[in-house]
């Protein structure tokens, strides 16, 4: 493994009864730039994110972030060591303001004594101020600064997505996993989100993995692409190379007979 590898999975397998969702998959995602995770439906992309974020326990294999193994960690431990995800469907606290929704992301930051927080003294006070600042920064970064006090229900779909992304980056993650962030968005919104993601990655420098079916967006967004199919690793490399790869062509873009695999 080289220095610039942010996230590395090794020999991952996940089975659900007769279905093999991941079949000894090994691949790497660089720490710089944004990686795309591609593959036909049911290829195991979401499952891979689930394993990395701790929502799914693999039957074999390991996950490493910047060289350290996450094997025994639960979801919370992973968040604390910097692995954060979003969901295929947006999940927000509908009764709290956008600000509070994003503030939730501070969980990933260092803990501090709850008693001190309640009393508002010493480190507790400092920590509360820090949480506040971090939240403001995260909101500004995705361009939601002016909407901080609004309720999520009042926001259009694309903005709701951004709230979720702001929440994910508030904790300054080392690895950010986005599952189809652009699904259901119109083209304008996709382009705007694309800019935001590039900017966030640029300024925070985390390993970012994006699952996306819109190949045009993937080409604009990603510097590196990993392709899965039928639970197995297929190919990895720069987007243009991957798009041209005949194996990917067959399983993903569709030579006519490939769908009856």
């Amino acid at each position: 493994m080289n220095d610039s590898t942010g996230l590395q999975v090794d020999d991952l397998s996940v089975e659900f009864g007769a279905v093999t969702a991941l079949n000894h998959v090994s691949c790497e995602f660089p720490a710089s730039g944004i990686s795309g995770l591609l593959g036909p439906n049911g290829a195991g992309k979401t499952t891979l994110l689930n394993v990395v974020s701790g929502f799914q326990v693999p039957s074999s294999g390991s996950v490493r972030v910047n060289g350290s193994d996450l094997a025994a960690d639960g979801i919370r431990a992973r968040v604390l060591s910097g692995v954060v995800r979003t969901f295929q469907t947006v999940r927000l606290l509908e009764k709290e303001t956008v600000f509070d929704n994003v503030a939730l992301g501070c969980e990933g930051l260092q803990r501090h004594s709850p008693l001190r927080q309640v009393l508002g003294i010493g480190k507790g006070r400092a920590a509360r101020r820090r949480d506040h600042d971090v939240t403001i920064d995260a909101l500004a970064m995705v361009g939601l600064g002016s909407l901080a006090q609004r309720m999520p229900a009042e926001l259009p779909y694309a903005k709701r997505r951004l709230v979720e992304i702001a929440r994910a980056i508030a904790g300054s993650p080392k690895v950010l996993l986005l599952d189809e962030p652009m699904a259901g968005m119109d083209r304008e919104a996709r382009l705007a989100l694309l800019d935001t993601l590039v900017e966030v990655q640029g300024s925070l420098g985390m390993t970012m993995v994006v699952v996306e079916h819109d190949i045009d967006m993937v080409r604009r967004l990603c510097t590196h692409v990993v392709v899965l199919a039928g639970g197995a690793f297929v190919a990895a490399g720069p987007p243009d190379e991957i798009v041209a790869d005949p194996r990917v062509q067959a399983t993903y873009f569709g030579a006519e007979d490939a769908r009856h695999q």
Binding site: F16, V19, G39, P40, N41, G42, A43, K45, T46, T47, Q88, T89, P156, Y157, A158, E180, A183, G184, M185, D186, R187, E188, A189, H213, I215, T251, Y252, F253, G254, A258, R259, H260
Partner: protein, 234 residues
Amino acid sequence: MLAINDLNAWYGQTQALFDVTLTVETGQTVALVGTNGAGKTTLVRSILGLVRSTGTIQFDGAELSTVPPHRRSRKHGMSVVPEGRGMLNSLTVQENLELGYRRLSAQDRDFIERSFPRLSRRLAEKVSNLSGGEQQMVALCRAFIRRPKFLILDEPSLGLAPIVVDDVYSQLREAWSSGTTLLVEQDVERARQASDVMFFIAAGHILGTARSSDKAEVDRMTRAAFMDSSAVRG
């Protein structure tokens, strides 16, 4: 076949559609294009009778506004691929397909085997176990096997790999060339190719319409629909 007149629709106090008027001829595929939040899904839901609305919706000569939603499906042969897939997570794939007192016939099974082989192997499984795209296939399949008179597709390509999207659209072209279809699609070019007529919608208003074959007009309307909305949204 479908004639909508002066349709206004509300969610609670907020109005989502304003005086929408639109017609779909028998056999036509009509595409609905607009930004997020423009009101496309609301229009679909109004046709299905799922939102509070005023105005008239005539279908095959019958007035629908007093017809309860379940009869629109049963009696008038409407079928929908809903936004967000509409999976019934506690049910199996087969039960999702059978929804509404309908058993899978041999013919249906055949169709599934041919068009969605991934599904035919997993009919007995809980639908919530499927991947996002696989669930979208269930949604499509559920609408298709009913052989509807009027097919409504709300973002049918959501979460589908390109290979499957192509496949779905080619099916639409071939198998449903005779059927009447209302299509909501984010990818304007794809929508243009799949449809006969396009309606452009922004902030709850129909901005205009264009024949799909007239590419220049479609481009002009698309720009209008998308710019307008960004103006409205600020």
